[in-house]
Point group: C2
C-alpha cells in the first residue's frame, strides 16, 4: 500500500517501468505515483465511504463510531445508508461504462445491417447465427442481414424497459436464475437498472443498505450478462472470434525505426480502423519517407490493446500504469484513445514530448486533445487522417530523448471460449476429466487493473504464480494480461512454473497455464465458461471449484465485475476494499452475508500469497463438496 518516500523499486516490479519513472523524474514529468503521494493521506471519511454529496443540505460526513457527534447526515441518513448509496452509484458507474460500450457495438452492427457503413462487416457469421439462436431468433435459411437485424433488435431490447430478464440469461444455470428471482436480483434491462440505481440513491429513496446492495448486484448482473456480454459477442461477430496466436509485450514493442502509434481505451471499433489504416501501403510508404524505415507499429495499451491483441495479435506496450510511462520513452508519435481508464494526465505528458494525443469519441473529450469525431460511416477515413498525423509527427521525434528500456517478451493470446473448446476437440469433457482427476484443481480468473497503491503488478503476478504452482489454472483479462505476459506466464513454456498436474495437462495441449481471455468486458467469456461447466455438471456456478480475483483494481468497472461475479456465485478476492468500511452492515454483507444469499462473497487481502491461500481453500471446499479429492 502507499507509503511516503517510496523508492522507484517500490513503485513497480518491472525494469521498463522503473527506467521510465526515473526518466520522468529527471525530465520533470509528473506521474500517477507523484500524484498519489500528493493525495496521501486520503480523506478518512471519503475512504470509509461515509461522505454524502447527494444533495445540498450537505455535504455531510458521518461516523458510526461510538461517541461520534455526527452519526447522521442532515436528512437523517446514517453510515449504513450513505455507504450503501455511494457503493451503489460506484457499481452503476462501472456497469454504465461496460454497457455503454456494448451499446456502441450494437450501433455498429445496426449500421452494417442498414448499409450505413462499408468500413465494418460481419466477420464471424457462424457466431452471429449461433448467438441469435441462443436469443431465440430463427436463423436457418434466413439471409445473414435479416438475422443480424433481429439480433440488433434483441440486443437493444436488453437496454430497454420492457423485458423481465435480459436475453443472455438463457445461459445461466436454472438454480442460479431461481436465486436471482427470489432475491429480486434478476436484471431486466441494462439502462433501467443503472437509472434505477441513481433513483434509489437520491435523498429519501432507498434507505435500507441491504436492499440497496441487492439492486447494486442486479445492476452489475445487467452488466455481466448483458452490457458486457453483448459487447464481447458482437465484437466477435464484427471483428472475428479470437483464436490462439503469438505476440509480444512490454515497452520494447516500441521501435526506434517505426512510427509508433498506441491505441488506448476499451473498444475495438475505432482501434480496428486505426490498425487497418496503419497497414495501408500508402501510409507505410509515407512513414518510411519520413525516416521511419521500419514503417508503422501499432501497439496496445489497456483494453483496447487487449481487443486488438486477441483478434489481430498486435503487441502490448503496457497496462494501466504503463500508459504514462509509454509516452515518457519519447518514442510515441500518437496515442489514440476511445474511452475509459485514460488518465487525463496523458494530455500533459504528451505535451512534454512530440506525442499527439487524439480523442475519437464525443463522450470522452479531453481538454487540449486533438479530436476526431468517429462514427461508423466515417471511421476508416478518419482513421487514415489520424495515422497520417502520427506519421507526420515522426519528424519531430527527438532521438536524444528516446529511451526504449526493454526487449519485448513473447506472449500467447486468443483464448476465447470457442478457441478453448476447439483446443479440447469441441467438448468440455477433457477439461472436466482433468478437474475430476485433480490435475487441474480449479480455475481462478485474475482480472482488472493497476493501482499505484501497490507495487505495480506485484500482486497480479504474485497471485498468478502462486495459483499455477498449486495446479489451479489462471484465466487472465484486462490489465493482468500484460502483467502475466511480462512475467513470462502467457507462453506454453510457463508450464515449468506450474504444479505437476497443470503442467501435464497444459503441456499435452500446448497451452500456457495462464490463458489470456481478452479485455475487461470479456470477463463475460469467463462467466459464460462457468455457466457452461456448471450446466455440463448439472450444478450451480457457486458449486464449482473456481474463484476470481482483482488484486490491484482501481476502477468502478472492477467493482461492477466483482459484484456480478459474486452475484453469479463466484468467490471473489480484491486486493483492497472499495470505500465501504465505514459501514459494518455493508462490510459484513460483502465479506460474509452475501454467501448466504448468493453462495459467494468477497474477500479482501493485499498479500498475494495469502490471497492464493484463500482462493485455494475455497477451491478445496468446493472440490470436496463435489465428492472430489481436495
Amino acid at each position: 500500500m502507499a507509503k511516503e518516500k517510496r523508492t522507484v523499486e517500490d513503485m513497480s516490479i518491472w525494469e521498463d517501468a522503473r527506467a521510465m519513472i526515473r526518466k520522468a523524474q529527471a525530465e520533470g514529468v509528473e506521474t500517477a505515483w507523484d500524484r498519489l503521494e500528493q493525495q496521501t493521506p486520503h480523506c478518512t471519511f471519503c475512504e470509509l465511504g461515509t461522505t454524502c454529496r447527494n444533495c445540498v443540505m450537505g455535504p455531510c460526513r458521518v461516523s458510526a463510531k461510538e461517541g461520534s457527534k455526527r452519526k447522521r447526515g442532515v436528512c437523517g441518513a446514517d453510515a449504513d445508508v450513505i455507504v450503501a448509496r455511494n457503493f451503489g452509484r460506484f457499481v452503476a458507474g462501472g456497469s454504465a461504462g461496460h454497457s455503454d460500450h456494448g451499446r456502441d457495438l450494437i450501433e455498429v452492427l445496426e449500421a452494417i445491417v442498414e448499409g450505413e457503413t462499408k468500413d465494418y462487416s460481419i466477420r464471424d457469421e457462424p457466431k452471429l447465427r449461433r448467438i441469435a439462436g441462443e436469443l431465440g431468433i430463427a436463423s436457418e435459411g434466413r439471409a445473414t442481414m435479416d438475422v443480424a437485424r433481429d439480433l440488433v433488435d434483441a440486443c437493444y431490447s436488453d437496454f430497454g424497459s420492457r423485458r423481465k430478464a435480459v436475453g443472455f440469461l438463457s445461459r445461466v444455470p436454472e438454480k442460479r436464475r431461481a436465486i436471482w428471482d427470489k432475491l429480486g436480483m434478476t436484471p431486466r434491462g441494462v439502462d433501467r437498472e443503472i437509472a434505477e440505481m441513481m433513483h434509489r440513491t437520491h435523498m429519501g429513496c432507498d434507505n435500507d443498505a441491504p436492499n440497496t446492495l441487492i439492486h447494486a448486484a442486479r445492476c452489475s448482473l445487467a452488466d455481466g450478462w448483458a452490457g458486457s456480454m453483448i459487447g464481447t459477442e458482437l465484437s466477435d461477430v464484427i471483428f472475428g472470434t479470437p483464436t490462439p496466436s503469438m505476440s509480444t509485450a512490454n515497452l520494447g514493442i516500441l521501435k526506434k525505426d517505426t512510427v509508433n502509434i498506441l491505441v488506448h481505451g476499451h473498444n475495438p471499433v475505432v482501434s480496428e480502423m486505426i490498425l487497418a489504416a496503419a497497414r495501408d501501403p500508402e501510409l507505410v510508404a509515407r512513414a518510411k519517407a519520413n525516416g521511419a524505415t521500419g514503417g508503422i507499429t501499432v501497439g496496445g495499451l489497456c483494453c483496447t490493446g487487449n481487443e486488438l491483441l486477441m483478434r489481430q495479435g498486435i503487441p502490448m506496450a503496457g497496462n494501466h500504469l504503463m500508459t504514462e510511462l509509454a509516452i515518457v520513452t519519447g518514442a510515441v508519435e500518437a496515442v489514440v484513445v476511445d474511452y475509459q481508464c485514460i488518465m487525463p494526465s496523458l494530455v500533459q505528458i504528451a505535451g512534454c514530448y512530440h506525442t499527439r494525443f487524439i480523442t475519437t469519441a464525443n463522450k470522452a473529450r479531453f481538454t487540449g486533445a486533438i479530436h476526431f469525431d468517429i462514427h461508423p460511416h466515417n471511421a476508416l477515413e478518419e482513421a487514415r487522417k489520424i495515422v497520417q498525423l502520427a506519421v507526420d509527427a515522426f519528424v519531430e521525434r527527438d532521438p536524444k530523448r528516446v529511451d526504449i528500456p526493454a526487449e519485448p517478451v513473447k506472449i500467447m493470446t486468443g483464448f476465447s471460449n470457442e478457441a478453448i473448446l476447439g483446443a479440447l476437440g469441441g467438448t468440455l469433457t477433457p477439461l472436466l476429466d482433468a478437474v475430476k482427476a485433480g490435475s487441474i484443481r480449479g480455475f481462478v480468473a485474475i482480472v482488472g487493473c493497476n493501482n499505484p497503491k501497490f507495487q505495480q503488478d506485484s500482486c497480479n503476478v504474485g497471485l498468478a504464480k502462486a495459483l499455477i504452482e498449486r495446479d489451479i489454472m489462471v484465466l487472465a483479462t484486462g490489465c493482468v494480461t500484460t502483467a502475466a505476459g511480462k512475467a513470462g506466464l502467457l507462453v506454453p513454456e510457463a508450464i515449468e512454473m506450474a504444479g505437476p498436474g497443470l503442467k501435464a495437462v497444459c503441456g499435452a495441449l500446448g497451452i500456457p497455464p495462464v490463458l489470456h481471455m481478452g479485455s475487461c468486458v470479456d470477463n463475460s467469456r469467463i462467466m459464460q465458461l462457468c455457466a457452461l461447466i456448471a450446466n455440463e455438471l448439472g450444478v450451480d456456478i457457486s458449486d464449482l471449484p473456481v474463484g476470481a480475483s482483482s488484486p490491484e483494481w482501481y476502477s468502478e468497472k472492477a467493482a461492477a465485475i466483482g459484484m456480478y461475479a459474486v452475484a453469479s456465485g463466484v468467490y471473489t478476492h480484491l486486493g483492497l476494499p472499495p470505500n465501504i468500511l465505514g459501514s459494518d452492515t455493508v462490510t459484513d454483507l460483502a465479506l460474509n452475508g452475501l454467501e448466504g444469499l448468493v453462495g459467494a462473497s468477497f474477500a479482501v487481502e493485499p498479500d498475494p500469497i495469502k490471497a492464493a491461500d484463500l482462493l485455494d481453500a475455497r477451491i478445496k471446499a468446493k472440490r470436496v463438496a463435489l465428492g472430489l479429492q481436495p
Copy 2:
C-alpha cells in the same frame, strides 16, 4: 444561510413550524436543523465539488488555487474535470428520480391496457387521445385501449436507445430544437442519457468540463421533456387532469378527532389508492368505532401531496421541512410513503410517537419501516390494509402529547395547462394580450424545496411576494406550493398583494396571482406552457419574458430541473449554488457561458429581493427585445 446557535425564529417563518421545533426540542426529538448544526462547517472540498471518489486510486481532493499542492487527482483530473463529473452525476441522479417515476406511470397504463389491474383506469380519455396525437399515434375511430397500447409503446421508446429524439420534442419550438441539435444536446432516450452520464464520468472518459456539462444538459432535457413530462401526462390520463378547486394547508389540517394519514413522496400511484381506501365507509366506520369521531383525514406532504391536492383537493400538511414536524404533533397515525425526499429520520421520529411509518415501493425501503409491496394488481387491497393499520393505531394516540399548532389556511389549486386555457376561454390570446399590454409583465416559476440552510420559506415567500408586486405572475409547484399557500398567496384575494396590472387581470379571471401548477414533475407543465406561448408568438423560449427560481432548493432533482429550464432557454435563479464553485470554468459556464450557448444561464442569489431584481431585469430586457414596454 446556516449559522451556529440559531434561534427557533431563525429556522422558519411559520408559527406552526416554530411550535413544533420547540416541542421536538422539549421532547428530545432530533430534527434536520439539529443535524445541520452538527454538519456545519461542511467539508470545504466537498462543498466546492473538488473531491473525487470515482475510483480507488483515490479518494482525491484537489484545489485549483494558486500554490495548491494538490492540483490534480491521482489520475490527473483537475478541479474543472472533477467538478464537472460530480455535477454531471448530480444531474443524472435528479433526472433518474423523475424519470423512473415517469416509467412507473407507463407501467400502470400498461397494466390497465393489459387488463392486469382493476384498481386503475383511464379517467381522462380525451387527454389520452390528445397526447397520443402529439406523439403521432392515430386515434380517430380506434378503441381506447388500442390507442393506449400505442401510447405505452411510444413512452417506453423514450426510455430506450433507438430514438434520435424523445417524442415530446414535438412540442419544442423549432429554433430551440435547432440549438440542441447543433450543440449535441438533443435528448435521445431517458435511461440512455443517464447511463451515458455515468459512463462519461468514469475515470478516463469525458475530461473536458464543457463537454460534460453539455451532456448534463442533455440528460436533464431527457428528464424535462420526456421522463417528467410522461409522468405528468400519464398521471393526468390515469387520475384525471386537474381543474381549479379549493383546499387548505398547514399543520392545522390534522384533526384531533380524525385518524390522520399523511401521504408523502412523489407519485400518485399509491397515494391515490390510500385516498380511495380512506373513503371506504367500512374503514371510516372502523375509525369512528376506534374513537376518531371525525373519521379519517388524508393529508399531503411534499409532491405526493401536490399530486393529490391538484386532482383530489386533499389538504396539505406541509412541505419538505414540515415532514418531521408533522409527526411531532403527536396526531399522525401513519405516514405512507412512496419515494424521494423522504428523510430517513422519519423512521426514528415516528418511533418517538405512535406513528406507523409505512413504505410501499421496493426501490425505497427504509430500515425499521413497515413495508407493503404495492403493484398495480394489488394496490387497492394493500392500501386498505395500510389504512386499517393507521385506523387501529389511533387507539394508541396519546392526547397529552398532541399539539396541533395552527388553523388551516385556504388555498386554490388545480392549474393544469388545460385548466388555464379553459379559464381563458380556450385560447392563450387574452393572456398574451395582457402580457403585451404590460398588465402581466411576465411569468416566473418558483419551484423546489426547503433547505434548512435558509429560514424556512423566507425566500420562497419573499420572492413570490416581490414578484407579484411587480406585476409578474408566479407559477408555483413542489414545496413552494405550501409555502405560498400558508402565506395566503394561493387565493384570489391575494390580488391585493399584487401590482395593479396583475391585480386587474387576476381579479377579472377570479384567479390568484400565484398559480399552483402541481408537483415537481409537473414543472413539465410549465415547460409546455412556455413552448405554447413561444410557438404562438413565433419566437424561441429564450425570447420570452419569463424566468424560473428555486430559492431554497436542496435536491438533485432541483438541479436537473434548473438545468433543463436553462437549456430550454429559461433564465433560472437558485438561492444557493450547487457544489461547483471549485471550478472557475464550470462556474463561469453556469453563470455566463450558457447564455451564449442556449440563450439562458443560472443566477445565484440568497436574498429574495435581490433575486426579484435579477428576474425583473431579465423580464424587462426580454420585453424590450420583443418591442414591448419594459
